[in-house]
């Protein structure tokens, strides 16, 4: 992320290693850092998860409310994803409204979830055209250690899968009240986000904060359960060749099953 200016010496070591097919922390080119997913850590939230990916740490929480649907989708529940980099997350983060990086983060995660149709929003309707469920998903970045996109996406996916909410109904007088029953969200897909960066001529997955700060192009791709690409964001003011993009997609696609199993495993372990 912004703020980290790598010193020349370290930069040389990093790029040198990557051009030889190695990484300074000993990882393989498509190897992720240690990934830890802990769902359900905030009992007050309807759904929550904390994800640690190397030095990166992210929390996501889901709050379910009700309200009017968007006029163009009267028969669908609403998904709203926000992100904030907490000021304690790094030396360079500052308090205040989300900056462009945080807004990009929220929107990239949002598109991966939305376009994969992970949550069947058609089932999140209380009264068609009038009252629907609103899913507020908030991402709070606790530590910026590189690759916030993937860590945040996994946290949101795990939090949504972990969500239990009160079923609501509308009374004749128009008020919306709980029926007394709870439900899980109608989850129909499990998207996985994979971020690749190019450094000189080498391509690596899951960049850490140093690798990210010297990257020559970044590509975040979300893959749905069928293996389709469902959302893409190219980042960084630099160009990527078609072959490079295809290489990134190929490396990503090979990685997806492993990550998906980890997310599933973490949720099963937590009941």
């Amino acid at each position: 992320m912004k703020g980290l200016v790598l010193d020349n010496l370290r930069r040389d070591q990093l790029t040198d290693a990557i051009s030889k097919g190695r990484r300074l922390d000993g990882r393989g080119m498509s190897e992720y850092r240690k990934l830890e997913i802990r769902p359900g850590i905030i009992p007050k939230a309807e759904g929550s998860a904390r994800v640690k990916l190397g030095d990166t740490e992210v929390m996501a929480g889901v709050k379910i409310e009700h309200g009017k649907p968007f006029p163009d989708t009267p028969d669908q529940g609403v998904l709203i994803i926000n992100a904030e980099v907490l000021p304690l997350a790094s030396e360079y983060a500052e308090p205040g409204p989300p900056d462009e990086d945080a807004i990009e983060l929220a929107r990239v995660v949002d598109r991966g979830i939305r376009e994969s149709k992970m949550v069947d929003v058609n089932k999140l309707v209380i009264v068609p055209g009038k009252e629907v469920y609103l899913m507020y998903v908030d991402i709070s970045v606790i530590s910026t250690g590189g690759n916030l996109f993937d860590a945040s996406s996994y946290a949101v996916v795990a939090a949504l899968m972990n969500t239990k909410f009160k079923i609501l109904k509308q009374e004749e007088n128009g008020s919306v009240i709980p029926t007394g029953e709870t439900s899980e969200l109608p989850i129909v897909d499990l998207p996985v986000s994979i971020t690749a960066v190019k450094i000189k001529k080498g391509i690596i997955l899951d960049p850490d904060v140093e690798e990210e700060s010297i990257n020559d192009g970044r590509l975040t791709v979300a893959y749905d359960q069928e293996g389709n690409l469902c959302a893409i964001q190219k980042g960084q003011a630099s160009g990527l060749k078609v072959e490079e993009i295809m290489e990134m997609v190929k490396m990503g696609k090979e990685k997806v099953p492993e990550i998906r199993e980890m997310i599933r495993g973490a949720l099963e372990k937590n009941g």
Binding site: P43, E65, E91
Partner: protein, 238 residues
């Protein structure tokens, strides 16, 4: 009035009047912060990061003679029953200020003129007494940052529910009870650095409430010490 005490003299969560909620504290878990701490107390889950002393980004707001202490108490949107808007509320702004005022007397800020120390408090999940738990945790984080302190600051709320003085109010006791009296104290000197009150107490009750808070603070202080020992002297202590 809601019944908050049963016939056996126990509170809703089964505690006696002078009993703290279950708590745990941890020092130094954020990599990039100068110091950090995490506390759970009842349903509170609070993370504190300290940055500094460091150069101020601007010349404004610095002091020739000592470091300037800044504090932000902030609740995550999913920390409450109803989603909280991420923008700081008036309540959060006031709490940020009283927490800063509660911690500053413990710090030897003169050692760092013209610099700033930032305390960032993130409430991951809120319950009654979050400002007290924030102060208790922030003290650990400041000590973890190596900022010299006269003493740790320990804080807890006392309240009155159904006519009884009780220690460490839960959310329900805070909302349904008659009095909420959060207190922060430096135990060596006995100086109270935070005191706020909502509700009515007689002078006698007030005096008793302070004693009750002091006893609670002592217990918390021991846990603060343990959290720091655990981080810095683990191998020796095990």
């Amino acid at each position: 009035m809601m019944n908050l005490i049963d016939e056996g003299g126990k509170r809703l969560d089964g505690r006696s009047f002078d009993q703290l909620r279950p708590f745990s504290m941890q020092a130094g878990l954020l990599k990039s912060a100068s110091g950090s701490a995490y506390i759970e107390q009842g349903g509170n889950k609070i993370l504190v990061g300290v940055y500094g002393p460091r150069d101020s980004r601007s010349r404004y707001g610095t002091n020739q003679d000592k470091a300037v202490l800044r504090c932000r108490y902030h609740m995550l949107p999913f920390s409450t029953e109803e989603r909280k808007s991420p923008q700081p509320s008036r309540r959060e702004i006031e709490i940020s200020k009283v927490i800063r005022d509660a911690l500053e007397p413990a710090l030897l800020l003169e050692e760092f003129p013209r610099s700033v120390i930032d305390i960032y408090i993130e409430v991951l999940q809120s319950d009654g007494g979050s400002r007290g738990a924030s102060i208790t945790a922030a003290s650990i984080a400041l000590a973890d940052a190596g900022i010299p302190m006269k003493d740790l600051v320990s804080a807890v709320a006392v309240g009155k529910v159904n006519g009884h003085l009780v220690l460490d109010l839960s959310d329900t006791e805070d909302k349904e009870g008659e009095v909420d009296l959060p207190i922060a104290v430096m135990l060596n000197s006995g100086l109270i650095t935070l005191m706020q009150m909502d509700g009515k107490l007689s002078e006698d009750e007030f005096r008793q409430a302070i004693d009750l808070a002091m006893a609670g603070a002592k217990e918390l202080r021991e846990a603060q010490r343990k959290a720091l020992v655990q981080k810095y002297f683990k191998e020796v202590d095990s």
